[in-house]
């Protein structure tokens, strides 16, 4: 009878509906919980940052105290900052932390906003050596707030080898398979110092560029694996898989020590380059004021001290430098920055467009691609 059939169907209907309802509602709860969670986070100010992981750590206290949420995208290479900003980042990203060498390029690409110095009063506490870096000011306007710095020394295992003297030491046959090389375009600068006589290693002719990359390809043959980060490099040294490196960072000493390995570094005779990561305000930043405040806070003594002490970064707040504990202070040549600058150059990146015979940044990238292909 139709009536019975309806009853049967209704019974089946209710039975299944209950289970379906329950499962569907859990799914929606999951979804809404996710959305609700996100909405909750947005009640505070959200600052979008594209930069290096770990830099935001010393700022954690300040962020919490001022109800600021950081929405970071971590990069493995400053070039990724350029990529992100030129492909839709302008108007959406607030802060970036590029190496100072790229600031002129970023300004040329119209991706940065001039820093309102009145909102960054802590600038006056920055050591003059770093404040004097020519790349942070373009046409008289400040575009970068220096934050931390470092050199690019050669790391080595003092228990396994004697202190190396030259970048070309990595080519020694006894080091085959035991070289750790960072996968970074700026290695070209190091190679240029070894095989060319270019005065400014970021201004190379096409031939010098080619020679430099040829050298890098030779070094690549000595490696087992390209380190994609300094963490990788520390790992390789800690495991004994590498005894010498091409490109390095003073903090690798700490990273390796954390893993139980003693590592040392040296600035080879040909010299090297240094870097200085800065907070830059992106053009049309949605939270420009908060971004300025964060950049300012990054220069404050407590934050700089945390960066220098906790992360062992090279810092530039003069008061903080004085208060550094001995171990952290010994890592960087604070007392002889002039001598340091003779061995370690801070150069702006290759020009955006080729200038005469000088290779453009595009050429650098093409050549580095050749290195990657090898």
């Amino acid at each position: 009878m139709p009536y019975e059939k309806c009853g049967l169907m209704r019974a089946r209907l209710f039975g299944s509906m209950d289970r379906r309802d329950f499962l569907l509602s859990s799914a929606s709860a999951l979804l809404l919980g996710g959305v609700g969670g996100m909405r909750g986070a947005k009640a505070a100010t959200t600052v979008t940052l594209v930069g290096w992981e770990g830099y935001d750590k010393p700022l954690e206290g300040y962020l919490k105290a001022n109800n600021i949420t950081l929405d970071p995208t971590y990069i493995g290479d400053s070039n990724q900052i350029i990529s992100k900003l030129t492909s839709g980042g302008v108007g959406r990203v607030d802060l970036v932390t590029p190496n100072v060498t790229y600031v002129p390029l970023l300004v040329r690409l119209n991706t940065l906003a001039a820093v309102d110095e009145s909102k960054v009063p802590n600038l006056k506490n920055v050591h003059p050596f770093f404040l004097g870096n020519p790349s942070i000011r373009i046409d008289g306007k400040l575009y970068a707030v220096p934050y931390v710095w470092g050199g690019v020394p050669m790391m080595y295992d003092p228990g396994a080898i004697k202190e190396p003297q030259s970048w070309s030491d990595v080519l020694k046959p006894e080091y085959k398979g035991k070289v750790s090389m960072l996968d970074n375009l700026n290695n070209i600068q190091l190679a240029a110092r070894v095989v060319t006589d270019a005065k400014v290693p970021t201004r190379l002719t096409q031939q010098q560029l080619k020679d430099a990359v040829d050298f890098l390809i030779k070094v690549k043959g000595q490696t087992r694996v390209l380190a994609t980060s300094y963490g990788d490099m520390a790992d390789a040294l800690a495991r004994g898989e590498a005894v010498i490196t091409f490109n390095g960072w003073e903090v690798v000493v700490k990273k390796a020590a954390d893993k139980g390995k003693k590592v040392a570094y040296t600035y080879p005779k040909e010299g090297t380059f240094g870097w200085m990561d800065c907070y830059c305000i992106v053009r049309d930043a949605p939270n420009s004021d908060v971004a300025h405040a964060l950049a300012n806070e990054a220069l404050s003594e407590p934050v700089q001290l945390k960066a220098g002490e906790g992360e062992l970064l090279g810092i530039l707040n003069t008061d903080a430098i004085k208060k550094l504990p001995a171990e952290a202070r010994a890592l960087y040549p604070y007392d002889d920055l002039e001598g340091f600058s003779r061995k370690v150059g801070f150069f702006p990146v290759a020009p955006l467009k080729a200038e005469g015979d000088i290779a453009s940044f595009d050429d650098w990238k093409k050549e580095y691609l050749r290195f990657k292909n090898a």
Partner: protein, 278 residues
């Protein structure tokens, strides 16, 4: 509403997503491969420069990538065939459990699987530990990791379910009775294999190969994590959308890779026709 129009109405959203999010972007990407990128600007002039560059500079890398992908897919298909055969014909009820395990493994992660091989093959990994404990070597063996064989091993491990499952599905259609009568007629194992089993799952084998190959040829994560200095074309393509920004070149590389992959899969499919099922 007629059946067809009602069907059209129901399938429309899926097709819309498909067209808008797949067809359109792919066509646009193809267009981009004919443009140029200079000083961080996309220059919308049609030209063949990118393809010329691919042919000039990246041919070797392309072939190498296809070569690795082929080896990986062949291994995966052979292993998959063995596993599917065992599951279907030798394991009885346990067989569906075997398939189940493989199915779980299919969905169970990508990154971590690749990363895990570092702990197996590394200088302080399981294999080295075992070798040292057994006294076979006095120092850890370094050549297990950060080289092409480790990439092949890792990719085969990851792609194995992709190859096995289509083959298993195809094997379902083989009746035990058919094989038994062949055996009763005195056919040897290899004959049964080549005359009956393989022809019946030919499409499954080709599908498995194709899936594995297409995933393997574009892989860039595995070379980065376990390949050491090894580069596959995928690494360079990924770089064009990360540190470098040469989209046109990346697009040209991608489509060249796709075209080549298509040729390889087609070739494999043709070769498998030897086993054409009468």
């Amino acid at each position: 509403m007629s059946t067809i129009s009602r069907s059209a109405f129901l399938v429309a959203p899926s097709l819309l997503i498909f067209t808008g999010l797949f067809v359109a972007p792919t066509l646009y990407f193809l267009l981009v491969s004919f443009w140029r990128f200079e000083s961080y600007e996309l220059i919308r002039e049609l030209n063949l420069d990118n393809y010329r560059e691919v042919a000039r500079d990246y041919l070797m890398l392309g072939f190498y990538t296809l070569f690795i992908a082929t080896i990986v897919s062949l291994f995966a298909v052979i292993l998959g065939f063995i596993y599917a055969y065992v599951a279907r014909f030798k394991a009885g009820r346990f067989g569906s459990f075997m398939l189940f395990v493989a199915l779980i493994s299919l969905f169970g992660g990508y990154l971590m699987k690749v990363y895990a091989w570092r702990t197996i093959l590394g200088t302080e990994g399981i294999i080295n530990n075992a070798l040292m404990a057994l006294g076979i070597v006095s120092e850890p063996v370094t050549w297990l990791l950060y080289n092409p064989p480790s990439v092949v091993l890792t990719l085969t491990n990851f792609l194995f379910p992709f190859a096995m499952l289509p083959i298993a599905a195809a094997m379902r259609g083989i009746h035990d009775s058919e094989l038994e009568s062949a055996r009763d007629l005195g056919a040897r194992f290899t004959a049964i294999l080549f005359d009956h089993v393989i022809p019946r799952c030919r499409t499954g084998i080709v599908t498995g190969f194709a899936l594995c190959f297409l995933i393997a040829c574009g892989d860039w994560v595995t070379p980065v994590l376990v390949g050491g200095r090894m580069t596959m074309l995928g690494n360079l393509i990924a770089a064009q959308f990360g540190e470098f920004l040469d989209w046109p070149l990346g697009a040209a590389m991608s489509f060249s890779l796709l075209a080549a992959a298509f040729l390889v899969v087609l070739t494999f499919s043709q070769i498998m026709r030897i086993f054409d099922w009468r």
